[in-house]
Symmetry: D3
Subunit: 163 residues, 6 copies
């Protein structure tokens, strides 16, 4: 494991890392997360698009817009021009949970891991917001990076790498 | 448990809930979350403010600013004028994790639960961003509301309420 | 008709009108607009929520978020805390058009006419964006204020007033 | 006419279309719109820049800034780096209206039609806002794309194309 | 002089100061600043509104919008709803400079000093931007608070107070 | 000295200058500014990071985020993707002042002078905000461009050039 936090210079001051000379390459990142809730809440979501309105449609839009706001939210993130954002939701009745999966893509100088993680986080918060009138005990968990590809540091897959 | 998702009207269309006639009362919400990481990463954070730069100082600012952006991130949240935002971080070496606690306050017509949850989420994402050069396997979890007070629906404490 | 443009001072310089001493009252505004398109495009929208995805669900969210951004978009608008935003869409097959209706509410010092008009405009632009792959000839028209109530200048209804 | 709404995937879920592999080409789009008003209102605008303050100067700035905010307003728009934005206004005394024309340019992977339409819409809303103290009955209409050029789908001119 | 920096809690961590219990009072702040430039640059600005375009009209709009963005720019500022923003510019040919004066007003729980200072700063930056093609050596200086009134700490006038 | 203000077209209307055909080159700009304050205030800042909290750490983050918001603040600035932002602060006890230095970098079609100046301005405002509870008489001055490099107009160094 490297022991360098690149977001600080050699005096320990926060900085936006200099990527001016990095090559423009195709970048992609996948991230996921889980919102656990009461079974009745999951049932209300499952009815979405039919009678009760579609919680996941709103969360999907919020996640896409959240990915675009990443550099505004995370202080040392570079602004970048996402070329693709996609979110998928899976209802897990066994665990009474919604699984969120986000994929971001870019042809650029920096990776899109933070954009994918932000998309998942904002989608999760939106699910919470839409359902909090009936279930304030929902829990957002397991927000993590699944894979990244592109860039000098190469590919990374969760569980297969020391970093 | 209520079976009404208030963010939809009776035709199932998403809406920003009408709070025009709700009283202005003092509102407060506490939320928390956890970022789990490799022990070496936690050590780097623990050295913050000394040699290596202060990850938590940056995450704290990001969390405060994130709370202020809540209604921009979450589609059906009302804009509001937070009167106080505070974040606390605790290093948990036993579990190799950072615990995040946020408290938001307001004298207004709607609660600040989403603002507190957003503060925690953005702070967690910022910790990930600052440390991802050394540890891409960090996991954000247990983002949840701890307590809320104020407003017509009264107080709520996690684990003590059916909602 | 008054001949005062209040957004300029007596030297002709743009200003944000001073509302510091205006009373806080309940305000409401309704605005509408129309997106005219090819019949095939309207059919694709009409299928929304079933097979093809829901154009109007996305436009609704965009309109609500647009209303919240009004003071960021319109230079001399006051920032305000909308207490309710609601959009309705009606499909008009006779004229091959989507009718958009927005209602904004607030307890505050200034009216919410611009917020309602912005909600309609952004929803209309979003419909255009979602359908432009199949129909670039869509036209947005008849964006107008229908009614306003509250505030010192009182109620206003389109077609019934000289202002 | 194509029957594909590209902003949905094959399951009908909204997505930001993947343009990662599209070539960077010069893109340009022109859009227009009309604000119809009382003749006295048009006269007040016509005096702009002399005694009464310049409504159109403010609307021009708002339109340029609106174009830059397009991807923040329209949920599935890609963020992009506009290389030029220009607005022109024409006073039409015969019809008591202001005509708005916007041109956006970019060297990038996606078109700038939405940016041009957004510039027109925000400029129109700003004219309404600046004059609403004297004329709440103004109507914004005929917001449409005039031409686009660049990109794989080639050129498009209003009235000459089936799309 | 107090030795308390209120933006830190008693452990030295940054926080948004809690104003939940502060009274809503009328607040007002005046701030000023100076942009010094080459005499030829000042002449170009002086011609504004006639042949060459109006640098100060654009700077005025930017300053007003900047005031509204204050809590987004300054991490620990409270969001608030400005009820009035006004900027004045004076051309000082003797010193080849533009003087900027901003006044912000609010009925609220916190002061508007930062909003007035932000309005001045953004207006000054805009003047620099508009003229930098002919004069990159312009200097922005003397940005300072002139007066504040309202709130528990009472009135403050530059030069008359120890704080 | 050129007598062209490029932000206006030949009719005197404000525009975002067309850079569509400009080459992508490496750009860099350095800007600086000074915040003068009471000696006691400087002492409180100097203790930052130890007992009292770190004013400069917050100002540094605000400056970096401010640079990213430049095109949102300055009406005719182009949006761009900064590849590096760095701020340095120097405490000047002789003059009881904080010196701020910002460096921005980009591989793009336009310069980053405004981004560097904005970083300095927002950092200065943040220092004012953090310390205003103890010293409202602080003054921000000498905000200026030091150097720029890259682009067709070539290098520029303060004091060595007629422009």
């Amino acid at each position: 494991m490297s022991n360098e936090l690149t977001h600080f210079d050699n005096k320990g001051n926060a900085q936006m890392v200099d990527v001016t000379e990095k090559a423009v390459t195709q970048r992609e990142a996948h991230a996921s997360g889980i919102v656990t809730m009461a079974p009745e809440t999951l049932s209300l979501i499952a009815e979405g698009g039919h009678k009760k309105g579609d919680v996941l449609a709103v969360a999907r839009i919020a996640g896409i817009q959240g990915a675009k706001k990443c550099s505004d939210l995370i202080p040392l993130c570079h602004p970048l021009m996402l070329s693709s954002v996609k979110l998928d939701f899976t209802l897990d009745t066994a665990n009474s949970a919604v699984h969120i999966l986000a994929r971001c893509k870019l042809a650029g100088q920096t990776g899109v891991e933070m954009e994918a993680l932000t998309a998942v986080s904002v989608a999760a918060l939106t699910i919470y917001d839409m359902c909090k009138a009936v279930d304030k005990g929902m829990i957002v968990s397991d927000i993590k990076l699944l894979t990244k590809s592109g860039g000098r540091s190469g590919n990374w897959i969760a569980g297969e790498s020391s970093q």
